[in-house]
């Protein structure tokens, strides 16, 4: 019989830490993995690989396996930076094929309720990029939540002294929604209709 300290129960415990996974689903997943040793090996290897290889880009903080990432080192318009909350937002914007500039991932949004202040985000790094580079425009694409909007306002104020043009993703995105869940066409429209702040 399995004890609380058994390796299987440890796996169940780790699975349960994942978002949207409860006790029953964790057990089901663990027993499913047990059925096939090959699957177990593949999963454990891939987990280690991700751990060892994936890290934030030292320039834009998007997750990447190379440094700088393929966007930072690629042949793209380096006069525009699009500021986003996390790397998933980057993927949504890239799927739209409407944008050929650079990115900057903040790694979150300002939220006193979650103990996140401006100093906890990559805002200092963004300001350095803006003052050092030959930048024409910063597009703020934080989420249209209360926290994302407050972050956008904070950035607008912080960027004011740099004199760079600042715009905000405008129309088309449902209010209160996360950009991640918006389809590519809507994002494309929003990008084209961005407003100067």
């Amino acid at each position: 019989m399995l004890t609380k300290s058994s390796s299987l129960m440890r796996l169940v415990g780790e699975l349960k830490k994942l978002p949207g996974i409860g006790e029953r689903t964790a057990l089901r997943l663990a027993f499913h993995l047990l059925k096939s040793p090959q699957n177990l090996t593949a999963l454990s290897e891939s987990l280690c690989e991700v751990r060892d290889r994936v890290h934030p880009c030292s320039t834009c903080f998007a997750i990447t396996e190379t440094d700088p990432c393929s966007i930072c080192s690629g042949n793209r318009d380096s006069s525009v930076i699009c500021v986003i909350e996390n790397s998933q937002d980057l993927m949504a914007l890239e799927r739209s094929n409407a944008y050929n500039g650079m990115y900057h991932v903040l790694e979150g949004a300002i939220s006193p309720l979650s103990g996140i202040g401006p100093a906890d985000l990559r805002i200092g790094e963004l300001l350095s990029r803006v003052t050092e580079g030959q930048l024409k425009e910063v597009v703020i694409a934080t989420n249209f939540t209360v926290e994302g909007e407050a972050t956008a306002l904070y950035l607008t104020k912080a960027l004011k002294s740099t004199g760079v043009k600042v715009s905000r993703l405008a129309h088309g995105i449902p209010l209160g929604s996360d950009i991640e869940f918006v389809d590519a066409a809507t994002v494309q429209w929003a990008l084209q209709g961005r407003n100067e702040l």
């Binding site: 300002i110 006193p112 309720l113 202040g117 100093a119 209360v146 407050a150 306002l153 209010l175 209160g176």
Partner: protein, 366 residues
């Protein structure tokens, strides 16, 4: 708007109950504490998701049961919708015609109800938060945009209050400005509602009381003189700035639309202090009529009236005034009383009568 069928399961003390309401007047009578008000509450909840009583969700579910359900078939402008509300310890769900809705605003306007209960009369004498809650609910009923700015305001307020309590207050300026932005929209929409309602209120009060006093509701948001959103926002920023030191001391936002009051006035004097019992009753009744008229104008269809504990609220004169009003506007009414009052039947023709006892419902005819 007509509620054509109602089914309630495991809601408070009501185990299972289904009935087809009459087209206009419906009377539910029976001893107090047997479920009459619960039935009205269930109907109200189906249209608004929020209760007119202040409650926590688990209190609405019958003791020992997992979930409560309210189902209603509503006919409005020739369209029939099936609404179903499910309450579980984990939350509430609403389906329209079998499809789950994801935002409270999808339900907006599907079943409009105006509640008139003893709490409304009490509102005159209670503290500002009671009237503020009334105002928020009444504005939202006719203004779908209100919910969004109101929720934003509450969320930003929470964020700002946490920041005020912490030692590192960086970003406070941004939260203050966002709070002013959302607050300005809240205030603007409240002002608009109040000015529309006042004209109607005045007219009904004159009819009911037969007197010439000038009555009105007055909304004077703290620190605000403008009625234009951009200007209100600037005034709010100044208000928050003026209170910043006390805000930091108390660790909470001490001024703003979340503290505002709604004043009830008679000849420009507070109704609470200067109005007689009768004047207060006429005032609240006129206010409810004005609300019904407002919803009728916005949606092009009359709302339902849920009239709780009628005998305590209305004497014969006001009762007749109300009945004439309801008949003229073809409003479907759900009334609760303790007794089958003969006076009511004279004023309310073809009233469907239901007896409510121990959470059970018996139809006693028209």
């Amino acid at each position: 708007m007509r509620l054509q069928h109602v089914a309630v399961t495991n809601f408070r003390n009501l185990s299972t109950l289904r009935f087809d309401p009459g087209g206009q007047f419906n009377l539910f009578y029976g001893p107090n504490g047997h479920g009459k008000t619960n039935l009205l509450e269930a109907i109200h909840l189906l249209g608004s998701v929020r209760s007119f009583r202040t409650v926590r969700l688990p209190e609405l579910i019958r003791h020992g049961e997992l979930r409560a359900q309210v189902h209603g078939a509503v006919e409005s402008n020739g369209i029939r919708n099936e609404l179903r509300l499910t309450l579980e310890s984990g939350g509430r769900r609403v389906e329209i015609d079998g499809k789950a809705i994801h935002r409270a605003s999808d339900l907006h306007g599907k079943l409009n109800t105006v509640v008139f209960s003893p709490d409304d009369s009490g509102m005159v004498r209670m503290g500002p938060e009671t009237r503020r809650r009334y105002l928020d609910r009444a504005v939202y009923m006719g203004d779908i945009g209100y919910l969004h700015c109101w929720h934003d305001y509450q969320r930003i307020l929470k964020q700002r209050n946490v920041l005020l309590k912490s030692t590192d207050k960086s970003g406070l300026e941004v939260w203050t400005e966002k709070l002013a932005e959302a607050g300005a929209e809240v205030i603007e929409r409240r002002q608009k509602f109040v000015s529309i309602l006042n004209g109607k209120l005045l007219q009904h009060y004159a009819t009911i009381s037969g007197h010439s006093e000038v009555c009105g509701i007055s909304y004077r948001p703290d620190g605000i003189h403008s009625s234009e959103r951009e200007e209100i926002k600037n005034e709010l920023i100044s208000l928050f700035k003026r209170h910043e030191r006390s805000d930091e001391r108390y660790g909470t936002t001490t001024a703003g639309p979340h503290r505002d009051d709604l004043n009830f006035l008679l000849d420009e004097r507070p109704l609470k202090a200067f109005g007689s019992q009768g004047q207060q009753k006429s005032f609240v009744l006129s206010l409810k009529m004005a609300e019904m008229d407002n919803l009728q104008e916005i949606f092009g269809v009359s709302p339902l009236l849920l009239l709780d504990d009628m005998s305590s609220e209305l004497d014969a004169g006001r009762n007749n005034n109300l009945m004439e009003f309801l008949i003229a506007r073809d409003i479907q009414v759900f009334i609760t009383t303790t007794e089958r009052s003969p006076a009511l039947f004279k004023a309310a023709p073809n009233c469907a009568v239901f007896r409510v006892e121990d959470g059970n419902l018996t139809f006693e005819g028209n």
